[in-house]
């Protein structure tokens, strides 16, 4: 284990204490609200040529939600990272405005959904859970107790869509459950649970995994009894996902597993093994499953497929056309045609942003995501306990991977796989799960940034014959 974690007093030894920076957070939140509310006003002006009538009500609601979150942080996590909440609030606000803009376009075509209204409800619910998480989870290490419980829960959740009656197949992927009026993507929750499970298991078994075992071809292979449970766990979740034809999530979980294994064992060999496994698996899938072959070919030659064969290339090609059409500064709200891309409000929301707000906004969005990942990994670096480090790394990596997979898919950098864009996309499960993720990250960062408890550093009060403090 690294020095920081091993020596609880090291931060005070180095003479550096994190400041709370709650004022900075509040200031950044004002900026984030300006993005969200400003975008909402711009949509009204661009599409309907008037400032939305409910701007004050809408803005007030957003502001209230954000301020409540801020106040709760002040009380229960005063040392939490001050950047995370504003970044997330800005993304969520921008997403709401873009979804609202797409709603207006759909309304003009005579198919009104009111996605933005629903998304605002989800956001409210998400923030409620965010607050609840911060209030109930006073120390993230409590989660370690649920290592196996959450693993089991994740598997059950991932299995649920396969259960007849409550499972639902939507556009080829069987990843939805519906209970009465509620539709839910359990995979979104499962990813949080899996991070907890992996972290809990790895932090206990990391030494065994790293040191015990045999060396085969430059790679230290761990003992089966150490690797077995987690490998099985990974195989089950991956298998379920493949069975559900959810390529995006499969990729996400595989990547997450790999990253966490690497961080826990500090063996780069795992990355090599993982990469080889990925290439092998991908090749096999390409050769064995026709729908994967097709997906891959469409990625390579989207324009050859455009307008042919059920038009599977329609989405990526229209997304490219839209983004090219947007150019550097975009067409402006109401001037583009982002609804040409099916699911512009969910998976393809980045294409809608690229079309109407241009490369400038796409860059800003990618940078905001980058900031979230950066804050998460920084938290992992300064965190004092191994479990917290692993959870923070896992959550940060899942963010990075998800953004890469979905934005890369939309911009045709990698083959298209269905995933939501965190905080931007329309979708309750994703939004709520991501708010909880942020709450957990804030909790870990609060612990990490809090001044280390003063151990008996004051040697003066103790006699000369007292025990020497051993500084490691």
């Amino acid at each position: 284990m690294s020095q920081v974690a091993a020596s609880p007093g090291s931060s005070s030894l180095m003479g550096f204490v994190h400041r709370r920076r709650r004022g900075a957070e509040l200031f950044l939140l004002v900026l984030a609200l300006a993005v969200g509310i400003g975008a909402y006003a711009a949509v009204g002006i661009g599409v309907e040529e008037k400032v939305p009538a409910d701007l004050v009500g809408y803005g007030g609601w957003l502001a209230a939600l954000v301020v409540i979150a801020h106040v709760v942080i002040r009380f229960v996590a005063p040392y939490a990272d001050p950047v995370l909440l504003p970044v997330v609030a800005a993304l969520n606000g921008l997403g709401l405005a873009v979804i609202h803009r797409l709603d207006l376009a759909k309304e003009a075509d005579g198919r009104f959904h009111g996605y933005a209204q629903q998304q605002l409800t989800w956001m409210t619910l998400g923030l409620a859970l965010f607050v609840a998480t911060l209030l109930l989870l006073r120390d993230h290490r409590v989660l370690q107790r649920f290592t196996y419980t959450s693993g089991l829960a994740a598997i059950v959740l991932l299995l649920l869509p396969m259960v007849p009656g409550i499972g639902k197949q939507v556009y080829g992927a069987r990843i939805w459950i519906h209970l009465g009026p509620f539709n839910f993507q359990p995979g979104e929750v499962a990813k949080v649970l899996l991070v907890v499970t992996f972290s809990g298991y790895l932090v206990l078994h990391r030494d065994a995994l790293a040191l015990a075992g045999r060396r085969v071809l430059f790679v230290d292979l761990p003992r089966g009894r150490d690797l077995g449970p987690i490998l099985a766990m990974w195989a089950v979740s991956l298998g379920i996902l493949v069975f559900q034809r959810d390529l995006g999530s499969s990729l996400l979980f595989f990547g997450l597993f790999l990253v966490m294994l690497y961080v826990a064992t500090e063996r780069p060999g795992w990355l090599v093994v993982g990469a080889l496994m990925f290439v092998g698996g991908a090749t096999a899938a390409y050769l064995l499953f026709p729908h994967v072959t097709e997906r891959f070919d469409i990625w390579l030659h989207p324009f050859d497929y455009y307008g042919k064969n059920g038009d599977q290339a329609f989405q990526p090609v229209e997304a490219q056309f839209g983004m090219g059409w947007g150019g550097l500064i975009g067409r402006g709200f109401g001037e583009g045609d982002p609804n040409r891309v099916p699911f512009a409000e969910s998976d393809f929301i980045v294409a809608a942003i690229g079309e109407e707000l241009g490369l400038a906004a796409v860059m800003a969005v990618i940078l905001l995501y980058g900031l979230i990942v950066e804050r998460a990994l920084r938290t992992a670096l300064i965190c004092r306990d191994g479990f917290g480090k692993l959870v923070a790394t896992g959550l940060g990596s899942i963010f990075a991977l998800q953004v890469f997979v979905v934005v890369g898919g939309v911009t045709s950098l990698i083959p298209l796989t269905g995933l939501t864009t965190p905080f931007l996309s329309y979708g309750g499960s994703s939004l709520i799960a991501n708010w909880v993720i942020v709450a957990i990250l804030l909790r870990i960062s609060d612990q990490a940034r809090r001044p280390a408890p003063q151990l008996s550093d004051d040697t003066t009060a103790i006699g000369d014959d007292a025990t020497q403090i051993v500084r490691l």
Binding site: W325, G327, V403
Partner: protein, 490 residues
């Protein structure tokens, strides 16, 4: 664990860098290519929604964009749809033709020469407005041509082209049957498709611009060219006698198939010589077949190509069909070619150029339809300068041929085109369609005033509801040509 976390951080940085580079590639470097993709509906819709410039004739617009309440914001309208359809073409959601297509850059506002205006638009957040295209058409001549041709009946197929001889300006261009471009520019897209399919399948080919796309044997109007070739070669002058005859047996042939006659017109006895004016005035096939043979295939082809045969010279509308004159004809073939038969085929525009070339002292000007391109603020960004296409024959030859054509109007078959007080030069033509159930094609070409020509006209009637015997060029084509010339001169 911090070392791997730092590695992961760098890995994440690379992922995000890749995303940013790819987004930049897509939205900056590849954007132009994406926007040029013909499958890109966004660009089409945007083009379709733009306020395009007007196509103007005189001071009036024959195609313009007016505001509409629907998603496309502007509706393209054609105030005189039927008359100008072959020129304006149409601008539909699916395609564009005519000037709408060839001058799309200016009309749509994409032309780089409009960039100054565009930059201003960008700063003032104005929607780009297209520039205007001003045509060379003389509205009075166009009206005369259109109304004259249309008066031949509802089923008429034909074309009229009028040129300004010393510039090449197209003063009138009419093609019948025609269509209503307003129906193709409609925002009701399914009706647009239905209309297009119907027009496209119509056997009378209303979408065809016969003036530049229909090649037919020019018949006797080609004798102008044969006469010009013979005079230019120094064989004859306008007042020289030329070989005549009731019939003429083409060399290397025997029997009726190789025998040329004059359908009863007075062209002297076989072996006799007749005045050149009589040969032209009576449109003597026997004479001109002999003249063509005397000139020879090579020089005939040279003269024909001087007037524009076998070449491409017109891009203002597309596609221009190249008129044809055989380049390696043998003696009997060149004899037939000399009276505008065999493989000779010309568009109405080509025959107008023949008349205009003679009228302009033998200098053939490149025909053009677009006079000016203007920015939306009416600043002229380009004015077409008249351009010489070739010196087909000498000025002397041209004036000799003019004498013959004047005589043809004054005393011969082209008399219907005569205008009181103005010397008109003209020539009729009737060409065999080659199919027994199809009536012959009627031609008429002329220019006026003969001494200082202002206008040259070609009229072509492909088919009309007129008795077969009366199809002869002068009867129907002559009055139309006369009306057009009068419209220009007066």
């Amino acid at each position: 664990m911090n070392k791997p976390i730092r590695t992961i951080s760098i890995f994440c940085l690379l992922l995000f860098l890749a995303l940013m580079i790819n987004a930049t590639y897509l939205q900056y470097w590849k954007a132009g290519q994406l926007n040029d993709d013909p499958q890109n509906r966004r660009v089409l819709v945007a083009a379709y929604s733009r306020e395009r410039g007007a196509i103007q004739v005189g001071s009036k617009a024959v195609a313009q964009s007016v505001e509409s309440d629907d998603q496309y914001k502007f509706q393209r309208t054609y105030p005189k749809p039927l008359e100008y359809a072959p020129l304006t073409g149409w601008f539909s959601y699916y395609s564009a033709t005519g000037i709408e297509q060839t001058r799309n850059d200016v009309l749509s506002g994409e032309d780089s020469r409009l960039f100054v205006t565009k930059l201003v638009d960008l700063l003032s957040n104005d929607r780009t407005k297209g520039g205007n295209v001003k045509l060379t058409i003389d509205p009075a001549a166009q009206d005369a041509a259109y109304n004259g041709l249309k008066a031949l009946g509802p089923d008429v197929q034909g074309s009229v082209v009028a040129l300004e001889p010393n510039t090449g300006k197209i003063l009138a261009m009419v093609s019948l049957p025609t269509y209503d471009p307003n129906k193709l520019a409609s925002h009701d897209l399914s009706s647009v498709q239905d209309t297009f399919t119907r027009l496209d399948k119509d056997p009378t080919q209303p979408l065809l611009n016969r003036a530049i796309q229909t090649r037919l044997p020019p018949g006797s109007t080609f004798k102008i060219l044969t006469a010009a070739a013979a005079i230019d070669k120094g064989l004859y002058k306008a007042d020289d006698p030329v070989p005549g005859g009731v019939t003429f047996q083409l060399p290397q042939t025997s029997g009726v198939t190789g025998e040329i006659d004059n359908e009863g017109r007075s062209c002297g006895a076989n072996g006799a010589r007749i005045p050149f004016t009589q040969a032209m005035g009576q449109s003597c096939n026997t004479t001109f077949a002999q003249l063509a043979i005397e000139v020879g295939a090579e020089d005939m082809a040279k003269t024909a190509e001087g007037f524009g045969f076998n070449s491409h010279y017109f891009d203002d509308l597309t596609p221009q069909a190249e008129s044809v004159f055989p380049t390696d004809a043998n003696e009997p073939q060149i004899g037939q070619s000399g009276i505008g038969q065999f493989e000779v085929a010309a568009t109405p525009l080509q025959m107008a150029m023949v008349a205009a070339g003679i009228a302009n002292g033998g200098t053939v000007m490149r025909p053009y339809l677009v006079d000016e391109e203007q920015s939306a603020d009416l600043d002229v960004i380009q004015k077409t300068e008249p351009q010489e296409l070739s010196q087909a024959v000498s000025a002397t030859t041209a004036s000799e041929v003019t004498k013959l054509m004047v005589a043809t109007v004054n005393e011969g078959t082209a008399s219907p085109a005569a205008i009181q007080g103005i010397q008109v030069a003209g020539k009729t033509g009737t060409a065999q369609s080659g199919q027994p159930d199809k009536p012959p094609y009627a031609w008429f070409v002329s220019f006026a005033p003969a001494e200082n020509p202002e206008v040259a006209v070609a009229v072509m009637i492909q088919s009309a509801d007129i008795p077969r015997g009366e199809i002869a060029g002068g009867t129907y084509g002559g009055p139309i040509a006369k009306a057009v010339m009068e419209a220009v001169i007066k």
